[in-house]
């Protein structure tokens, strides 16, 4: 099992409450995935020509201001950083290579890049979904799109790196309920194409595969079609991009997914009770995606 939730807000009036509603949805999926949880949340606060780096440190004490200075020196541009517990959101110049090179010089800080993007914040950790949301102040966050996952690990160890979402490219995040049976062979094909997975996790292979397909020019929906063609196993996948959101289930459709559509928002979840507390849900068109049917929304 695993739990998936997603909330794509189309009414700007709901954006300040995104984190609040999303936290309730994620908490409802605790029984499906109590060992770890994660989320990708998209908002409009990052200035133009800048990117937000979601960073995590596994060292007991991290000199985040030192990290900031190294990035500023490496890029030659002023940056800023917001620290919550052992994670930090670094806003730096829109030059992925320069920032990555600067971060790579930090050997002692044990810093992991969890995700990067013009709109995305990516948070994941081990523990109960509600505790993780509270620890990183998710209920206070505003935004227009959030995608989350509660994990019950089956194919690889319970680690923060093995928690979902996986982000293979800027502003792209993927969550998965199910298991892939041919991930090892696809992992090898990706390696041959120069795309390396960072973990042993089967879901990361799908994330890297979609990132790779999109780097070849596929749009999100085309990349999802290639997933259906190449991947064997059980899956409900939800993928978010900066302005897009896509859902697909495998041919057997034995991993659940339910969709609620309203003019104000699109909400998806593994089980209905995760949607039951959303405002206006009684007016929503609620349906299940059919096997191998790709649903994509663009905002």
């Amino acid at each position: 099992m695993c739990g998936i939730v997603g909330l794509f807000v189309l009414d700007p009036g709901l954006e300040p409450d995104l984190g609040k509603h999303f936290t309730t949805m994620l908490e409802e999926m605790t029984a499906r995935g109590p060992d770890s949880a994660g989320l990708a949340l998209y908002d409009r606060s990052v200035p133009a020509a800048r990117m937000r780096w979601s960073l995590r440190s596994d060292a007991p004490e991290t000199d985040w201001l030192g990290v900031l200075r190294v990035v500023e020196k490496g890029t030659g541009q002023p940056s800023n950083i917001e620290v919550i517990e052992n994670i930090a959101f670094l806003i730096a110049v829109d030059d992925e290579v320069a920032v990555r090179q600067a971060l790579a010089t930090l050997t002692e800080e044990q810093i992991t890049v969890v995700g990067v993007g013009h709109a995305m914040s990516l948070i994941k950790d081990i523990g109960l979904p509600r505790d993780i949301c509270d620890r990183y102040r998710v209920p206070e966050m505003s935004g227009y799109l959030a995608l989350g996952h509660t994990r019950m690990a089956t194919e690889s160890a319970i680690t923060t790196d093995g928690a979902h979402p996986f982000s293979p490219a800027p502003d792209l995040a993927l969550v998965h309920n199910g298991s892939f049976s041919n991930h090892a062979s696809i992992r090898r094909s990706l390696a041959d194409a120069g795309v390396d997975c960072l973990t042993d996790n089967d879901t990361e292979v799908a994330a890297q595969f979609i990132g790779y397909r999109m780097s070849l020019g596929d749009d999100l929906e085309e990349a999802m079609r290639h997933v259906l063609k190449e991947f064997d196993g059980f899956f409900t996948l939800v993928v978010s991009a900066e302005r897009q959101f896509s859902v697909v289930r495998d041919a057997f459709a034995c991993k659940p997914m339910i969709i609620a559509e309203l003019p104000e928002y699109i909400a998806v979840a593994s089980e209905y009770h995760a949607l039951a507390n959303l405002p206006g849900i009684e007016r929503a068109r609620v349906f299940e995606p059919q096997p191998e049917e790709i649903h994509t929304w663009t905002g």
Partner: protein, 232 residues
């Protein structure tokens, strides 16, 4: 908490939680009618009840509503999640909305009525019960169904009746594809009478008993003769 049973009692699922609601339902004497409110998609509501009571579920229920029941009647004013009426023994479950996957899975008896659509694997492994769906059913419906009846007013998805045993399927609309070892058979008088009777019992007036397709096992996948002369 002691809850006194009134002719029309109410249980608030949000306040009580599913375990307390089920315990309360179990405690009610035969003939009681009860409303369950604030359902909000909770799982396992009303499972394993053996008392003849009338339960009105006001809202959308989660998984396994009325599973394993042997006696009560349910009316759901909303939709239900996976496995409604799973392993039902007797009684009636009427869902005014839609049902998710595996409706009436493995039901031994009783009647499950879905007034909307049912999703994939409806009536999977049916063992003698009846599932009647006014709308359509999803793929792999009646997979390995052993006994009982599936009535579909609308269309059926892919692989209908795959690996069927003795269960019979009647479809008012189109069949997207038949599963392995399922075949269309001619409607006999007994079939027309049964569909007529089911339409009367369910209130489905949009189905013409003389104009449905019958699907049954072609009996090529399992060998009936293997059990010849054997006793259980």
């Amino acid at each position: 908490m002691e809850v006194k049973a009134h002719p029309l009692a109410t249980a608030d699922a949000r306040v009580l939680g599913v375990t307390a609601v089920n315990r309360f339902l179990r405690s009610l004497p035969a003939g009681t009618e009860v409303n369950v409110t604030e359902v909000r998609g909770i799982h396992n509501l009303g499972v394993g009840l053996t008392n003849s009571i009338q339960i009105n579920v006001n809202g959308n229920a989660g998984y396994y509503l009325a599973g394993l029941c042997d006696g009560p009647s349910f009316i759901v004013n909303g939709s239900v999640g996976w496995g409604v009426g799973e392993n039902l023994m007797s009684g009636v479950v009427r869902v005014r909305g839609n049902a998710s996957e595996s409706a009436a899975a493995s039901a031994h008896g009783g009647l499950v009525v879905i007034e909307g659509d049912a999703s994939s694997r409806a009536a999977i492994s049916l063992k003698g019960g009846t599932l009647a769906v006014a709308g359509s059913v999803g793929h792999m419906s009646a997979f390995m169904a052993q006994a009982g009846t599936l009535l579909v007013g609308g269309d059926a998805g892919d692989s209908l009746g795959d690996s069927l045993y003795e269960a019979i399927i009647y479809v008012g609309g189109k069949i997207r594809s038949l599963g392995a070892d399922a075949q269309i058979e001619e409607m006999g008088e007994a079939d027309v009478a049964l569909v007529h009777q089911l339409c009367a019992a369910t209130g489905f007036d949009h189905i013409d008993p003389n104009n449905v397709s019958k699907v049954a096992s072609a009996k090529q996948l399992y060998n009936f003769d293997a059990l010849k002369d054997q006793r259980y």
